[in-house]
């Protein structure tokens, strides 16, 4: 059977190239991790601050492999009925209502109670068949014939119970539905779990995953990312921008800017036809990079010295 694991990704370098073509610049470490995750078919737990491209990584993988991306966003209180499947109660009810009138024909010449029950028994599974099943992300991922990329986002926000439930899926790639039976994936999905380290995951879950930590990128890598995402930006401006962002990350801020903020800011620069990173411009657009009022104030206070150090580094 043709599936996403057939003859692709022969080496780490190949992954780097492919991802670069897909617009995702990954370091050697990320590429290595993707390589073994792909070849050993293991789930990958990606950790790191918000906005460094954890979700983007899964998206790009799906694009490159040419399979759908199925995403499950975790939150407190997420349970099986939201993550795996649910019965379409409304449809079931509606059908029973509609069928009420047909009931006589259907029962035919069943006279006694026993006979009627026997007729019913022969049909009852109709209402608990896949037609009445509302598939949720995990169910969909297992059903996908050609495989898929399954992204379980912010798994650290889910409850302990849900985490335990994930274990069955992640180790066996199968799940049991009481009314229907056990569902096993034909092709194992490529699973990404992302976590912001809100809480420590259980050892059992950790054991089943490969671990990758994505930190803020080095200046060099970040420039390459900018180059691929916002190619219109002039080289000089790009350098200043990245230097400035790195300076910000060294400061004690509530939320340090991530790659996604860098890209946003670069787009703003291009949109406003900015020629250089001057004080006025930074002051007016700083809110694209920093999300807290306190942070903006703190940076504004030191803006002169920050800009000076950035420009003098040229």
């Amino acid at each position: 059977m043709k599936n996403m694991y057939s003859h692709r990704f022969q080496s780490v370098e190949e992954i780097q190239d492919e991802f670069e073509k897909g617009g995702y610049i990954c370091s050697k470490e990320i590429a290595t991790c993707l390589y073994i995750a792909y070849n050993l078919q293991k789930p990958m737990m990606v950790e790191g601050p918000a906005g460094v491209g954890k979700t983007e990584m899964a998206k790009t993988t799906a694009e490159i492999l040419g399979v759908p991306l199925i995403r499950l966003q975790c939150y407190e209180g997420l349970d099986e009925s939201k993550a795996l499947y649910e019965w379409k109660y409304g449809k079931q009810l509606l059908y029973t209502q509609l069928l009420k009138e047909k009931l006589n024909d259907f029962m035919g010449d069943a006279e006694t109670m026993e006979e009627s029950m026997a007729v019913l028994h022969s049909k009852e599974d109709l209402f608990f068949s896949e037609d009445f099943l509302e598939p949720r992300p995990l169910f969909k991922a297992l059903k996908e014939k050609a495989g898929c990329v399954l992204l379980i986002d912010e798994v650290d926000k889910s409850d302990h119970e849900f985490e335990a439930f994930l274990l069955e899926i992640l180790s066996e790639f199968q799940v049991s539905i009481p009314e229907i039976g056990t569902l096993t994936a034909d092709v194992k999905p490529f699973v990404f779990l992302t976590s912001n380290n809100n809480r420590e995951m259980s050892d059992a879950l950790k054991r089943r995953c490969l671990h990758l930590n994505v930190p803020y990128p080095e200046a060099d890598l970040e420039r390459r990312i900018l180059n691929s995402r916002v190619p219109e930006l002039s080289e000089n401006l790009q350098k200043n921008l990245v230097d400035f962002i790195h300076k910000l990350r060294d400061m004690d801020l509530k939320k340090a800017p991530s790659i996604s903020e860098t890209i946003d800011w670069a787009r703003v620069l291009v949109l406003l036809h900015a020629e250089e990173l001057d004080k006025e411009f930074v002051e007016t657009t700083l809110n694209t990079v920093l999300k807290f009022e306190d942070d903006i104030e703190a940076v504004n206070e030191q803006l002169d010295s920050l800009l000076e150090s950035v420009h003098s580094a040229e």
């Binding site: 780490v12 050697k28 470490e29 290595t32 991790c33 390589y35 073994i36 995750a37 070849n39 050993l40 293991k42 990958m44 407190e76 109660y89 409304g90 009810l93 409850d159 302990h160 809480r199 420590e200 050892d203 950790k206 054991r207 490969l210 671990h211 990758l212 930590n213």
Partner: protein
């Protein structure tokens, strides 16, 4: 390869990274997949399979670099030139035994392999303590055949021929080099396989030692131990809290949602129950009589504060000092120094302290801060009141209001009520009085406390 992997996993384990057998298999697959071609990629790959968090990644990186380093038998350049001269003078002496030949030919790879083989044969991976270095070096030397060098030296220096004498000297030099290489190697192996044995033993000792016997220099380790314990507790605590979140059926919301189903409540909504928010008020004696303990008690409070934000901490000797802001503002060591300075110094006065407590936490104008039936009060102190008025009436009041009052006394039970200790007077107004002189006891106590207050 199998052997290398096994040794490596052993090394990884000794760096405090747990590796289950399933993970070893996984590591084996990774090895097969990646191979030895690129050291960098292999490191990333194994790190992804074995290390589970940031801390582990760091120790893994250290372990990997140590394990896969090939520095042995490298020639120091300046020595090499000198040697060349000597060699020319000495002419051709090839040596008899294999080892001597290798040494003379300076076959780095062969020597290194031979040493590693010898090391494996004698079981170097079991090395634990620095005291074992000597014996392991000797064993490796012997296994490599150092006895033969000795024989050859003896044979050469037997006669009177000057060339033979010089050659014997050269061999002595060779033996010395070999020895220092082996020693270096053993040292490195110890740092790989025995990395954390000392630490582990020390930690075990510290958990069970009386707080008063622990020295200042162990403070960092204590902090680490205490932090771990506090973390574990907070994990249990947060789990308990979640379980109580389902409450009554929200009838209106359920009906509205289920109109579509003919009013049959397929989908139910629950009124979330108000989460019971337990509070802890901790009061810690920092006076002279408990100065041996107070540092660690404060450390414990500080670590608890890290994980349980709802802990309200005070220090006192002659009067009560709120240390919450100090704990928030300073790093741990500084915070403790400041707390000791602000709270300590005076002679213990439980009476005054209780009066302050009454003012701040029983009759505070902000009712939220006051002790109520959800509050657990922990008092850490030796109850030595310098024969002052114990003011048991206030403690009684606290006892009546709070959910629990717990007194943890760092003194051994036998010295309670001797001298100025008022333990017996306070005891009736505490739900629990317990001796707590080691970190382990302290931990068990707090564990019990959390179980009760958060159940």
């Amino acid at each position: 390869m199998q052997a290398v992997l096994e040794d490596f996993l052993k090394a990884v384990r000794s760096h405090d990274i747990t590796v289950s057998s399933a993970e070893s298999i996984e590591a084996g697959h990774t090895f097969e997949l990646i191979g030895f071609e690129s050291r960098e990629i292999l490191k990333y790959a194994l790190s992804a399979t074995l290390a589970k968090n940031l801390e582990e990644r760091e120790s893994f990186s250290k372990c990997f670099d140590g394990f896969f380093s090939f520095e042995s038998f490298k020639e120091r350049t300046e020595q090499a030139e000198e040697k060349k001269q000597i060699e020319q003078e000495l002419g051709e002496y090839q040596g008899d035994s294999e080892l001597v030949k290798m040494m003379l030919a300076k076959d780095q790879v062969a020597l290194s392999n031979k040493m590693k083989k010898a090391a494996r044969e004698i079981g170097i991976t079991d090395i634990w303590f620095f005291t074992q270095k000597g014996i392991y070096s000797q064993k490796i030397m012997k296994q490599m055949g150092s006895a033969q060098i000795g024989e050859e030296i003896a044979a050469l220096s037997g006669g009177t021929c000057p060339t033979a004498m010089a050659q014997a000297n050269q061999l002595r030099q060779v033996r010395k080099t070999l020895q220092s290489e082996v020693q270096g190697f053993v040292e490195q192996q110890l740092s790989i396989y025995g990395a954390n044995t000392n630490k582990r033993l020390r930690e075990e000792f510290l958990t069970n030692a009386r707080l008063s016997n622990i020295e200042r220099r162990d403070f960092h380790r204590m902090h680490e131990i205490v932090r771990k314990m506090a973390k574990r507790m907070s994990d249990t605590y947060s789990k308990k809290r979640k379980q109580t979140q389902r409450g009554q059926l929200d009838f209106r919301k359920t009906m509205r949602k289920n109109v579509a189903y003919d009013g049959v409540p397929f989908e139910t909504f629950w009124r979330t129950k108000n989460v019971d928010k337990p509070k802890i008020v901790a009061i810690c004696d920092v006076s002279g009589s408990v100065s041996d303990y107070s540092r660690f008690l404060l450390l414990f409070l500080y670590s608890l504060k890290d994980v349980l934000s709802r802990i309200d901490s005070f220090a006192f000797s002659s009067s009560l000092v709120d240390v919450n802001t100090i704990f928030e503002d300073y790093a741990v060591e500084q915070a403790i120094e400041v707390a000791l300075k602000e709270g300590g110094g005076g002679s213990t006065d439980y009476g005054q302290t209780f009066m302050d407590l009454k003012r701040d936490r029983l009759e505070n104008s902000n009712n939220l801060l006051n002790i109520d039936n959800k509050t657990s009060v922990i008092i850490l102190g030796d109850a030595r009141n310098n024969y002052g008025d114990p003011r048991t009436d206030i403690l009684k009041l606290v006892y009546q209001r709070a959910k629990r009052v717990i007194w943890l006394n760092p003194e051994p039970k036998i010295s309670w009520n001797t001298g100025d200790s008022e333990m017996d007077k306070y005891r009736p107004y505490c739900h629990l009085v317990s001796e707590c002189s080691t970190i382990k006891q302290l931990n068990n106590m707090i564990d019990d406390l959390l179980k009760v207050s958060f159940a």
